[in-house]
């Protein structure tokens, strides 16, 4: 993957991460105010967010070192 492609991927992942984190916070708030905490739902959402976070970190590392980690 070229540097331009990596930067585009980073932009895409950052946007996705921000949206998912926003949704996780909103969902937790919704559950908290209705006194209906579903921890397994929150954990599943957190796991999805963590996958995006890890991929984003990998892309950022590749951009920093100049080495494509996916190859």
């Amino acid at each position: 993957m070229s540097a331009a492609e990596l930067e585009a991927r980073r932009e895409q992942l950052t946007e996705r991460f921000a949206l998912m984190q926003l949704e996780l916070g909103g969902l937790f708030y919704e559950m908290a105010i209705r006194d209906h905490l579903e921890l397994d739902v929150l954990a599943a959402k957190s796991a999805a967010l963590q996958r995006v976070d890890l991929e984003l970190a990998e892309v950022q590392r590749s951009l920093a070192t100049g080495v494509d980690a996916s190859v």
């Binding site: 949206l19 949704e23 909103g26 969902l27 559950m31 959402k45």
Partner: protein, 154 residues
Amino acid sequence: MTETEQEITQREQCEQCAAPLAADQRYCVNCGARRSEANDPAASYFSEASAARARVAAATRARAAANRKRPAQLRIPAALLAVIVAASAAVGFGLGSSSGGSTTTTVKSAVTSTKPAANTTSTRHGSTTKSTSAATGGNYSNQEKNDNSVVSEP
């Protein structure tokens, strides 16, 4: 149950798990699905910020593209200027080499033609000498000598 009551009931159910939802509920607390039609200030704020950022990025890209085009536009006048300079240099060199010989010959001929004239005027006396020296813008001392000679002759 009337049609409107059925519509409200259908609308206020989760699209994924069909759990009942309150009117102001943004997320389903049962499955965690987000309600698309719910009023979410955070989501609208971030979507507006994202749109503004996209506009700024597009403007930056357009500016960068315009800056990249500018040197390309300057290339043609620069090339033209180079051609004009080269052509004028070549023309100047050609003229210099062709007219250089004739210039020297004219200078030589002028020198050779003026020397005998100077000799003839110096040998003559009186008014002739005056007129030639005046015409050639001659020497002041020569004029004085000639004047003296004119006066002493009678």
